[in-house]
């Protein structure tokens, strides 16, 4: 029988011993925001190329966590480890270590990957709405899950579009193509699609890199609003975006987590010189 990952009734195991390869700092634990994802000593490789080295990190629940670092530093690889998107890459494998979602090892043999991805949604760099209507973009995932009640579907579509701050802009043209929306609207449609299946976590891989400043501001506003209900992990190359949107920030370099701390600490007085040199633009 496969585990339905992240269900509230799943009991978390006893906490492991403190890892010995921690970054220079870790955000303080908070009872308001306990760790929803725990990564311990994760080593990950694409073929023979090691992409992540001994990464240990705890993602706080209902907070926005930003991953920053130069290209190739492993931040997107780690993000994709959270919903096993790396399974789709030839030769990609976890060499050692673990990723736990609410105490369950998501790489365990019994894990239902589809259920995992329902709990851990994803929004990509380039918006990728289905070539269907706005309505169907949202309802599709729900119908696959077996929801057939039209009224219930209507409710969920509206709720999701409202949640993605898109409802007012599209309510009069729900049955027109999603591809007819602007880039920023398409990205918010993808966020609406992700939240329709009621995930616990939303992963965002450079969600604003293809958007203009106004559309970016709307998505950032949305990220801020969504954290009341969801845990958000966002990969970004935009330092100011990480500073504006996130509560905690992890800086990665050459596959290692160099520093992980409160965002205001990282952007005002980071503990590690490499972090400071990167965010001030001295390298990377």
């Amino acid at each position: 029988m496969s585990h339905s990952v992240g269900e509230p009734d799943m009991k978390a195991p006893e906490s492991a011993a403190a890892p010995n390869d921690m970054p220079t700092s870790q955000p303080p634990a908070s009872s308001d925001h306990p760790a929803i994802i725990k990564v311990e000593k994760l080593n990950f490789a694409y073929g023979t190329a090691r992409a992540l080295h001994e990464v240990t990190i705890e993602i706080p629940e209902r907070q926005v966590t930003a991953f920053i670092g130069p290209s190739g530093c492993g931040k997107s690889t780690l993000l994709r480890c959270f919903n096993r998107m790396n399974d789709l890459v030839d030769g990609a494998r976890i060499e050692s270590g673990s990723v736990q979602l609410q105490g369950v090892d998501i790489n365990g043999p019994d894990i239902d990957v589809i259920a995992l991805r329902r709990r851990v949604g994803m929004v990509f760099q380039k918006s990728n709405p289905f070539p269907k209507s706005i309505y169907e973009n949202i309802s599709y995932g729900l119908e696959i899950q077996g929801m057939n009640n039209r009224r219930k579907l209507d409710e969920m579509v509206e709720k999701s579009l409202r949640g993605a701050a898109l409802w007012d802009e599209v309510k009069d043209r729900l049955h027109t193509s999603g591809l007819g929306l602007s880039g920023g609207q398409q990205q918010r449609l993808c966020i609406a699609r992700a939240i329709a299946v009621e995930p616990r976590i939303i992963l965002m891989d450079e969600p604003c890199s293809a958007l203009d400043p106004i559309a970016t501001a709307k998505v950032e506003e949305l990220i801020h609003a969504l954290k009341k209900e969801y845990t958000i992990v966002v990969v970004t190359h935009n330092m100011q975006q990480a500073g504006r949107c996130s509560d905690v920030t992890g800086f990665f370099y050459l596959g290692r987590l160099i520093e992980f701390d409160q965002t205001d600490k990282i952007f005002t007085n980071p503990s590690d010189k490499q972090t400071e040199d990167y965010i001030t633009g001295r390298f990377g």
Binding site: M239, G243, T268, N269, T275
Partner: protein, 221 residues
Amino acid sequence: MTFWELQLNDIREQLLMMSGLTEKVFSTAIRALVERDDKLADAVESEDDQIDQLEVQIDERVVTFISTHGAVARDCRFVLMASKISSNLERIADEATTIARRSRELNTEPLLKPLIDIPIMADTAQEMLRDCITAFVDMNPELAIEIIARDKTVDSIHKMLVTELTALMIESPRAVTRALNLMRVAKSIERVADHATNIAEEVHYLSRGLDIRYNQGLKGR
């Protein structure tokens, strides 16, 4: 060096130039008082304008840097503190101007009393200012903390002087004008030490990222 590092360097160089000029005008103001020399007092006033202009220029560069580069971490601390330090330097120069003006007035009458405590007070304030510049150049937070501790010496001499000058005014109404001028000079020197203390706190924050104003951040040291 990248172009934005050059911009930061420009701000730093202007701040150092302003520090040097401020130290000079304060020193000149004290000499104008002690040596009873009106020409030195005039020189102080003429240099004050240049210091005002430097403050404006530094602020312009800081605003430009923040607007165009979105400064973070040590760069953010640097530009913010550069603006605050330049503001304190400009106020020190204003106090020097006040001392120079009062000196000219004092020079029109015989000395009320030998100047002993005021030069001691001024030496301490001047040393604080000079060490602030050293702490800034060396990014030395320990020296910044030492500077802050010296402010109490200046405060205690100031308090003593006020008591002494008040007694002189009670004793002799003819001493009132000169005593009031000396009191204002003493107050200006005391304010210079306060501004130097502010700069030391700013240098500490700049170098260590720890705000020690109002004794916060020093607890448990």
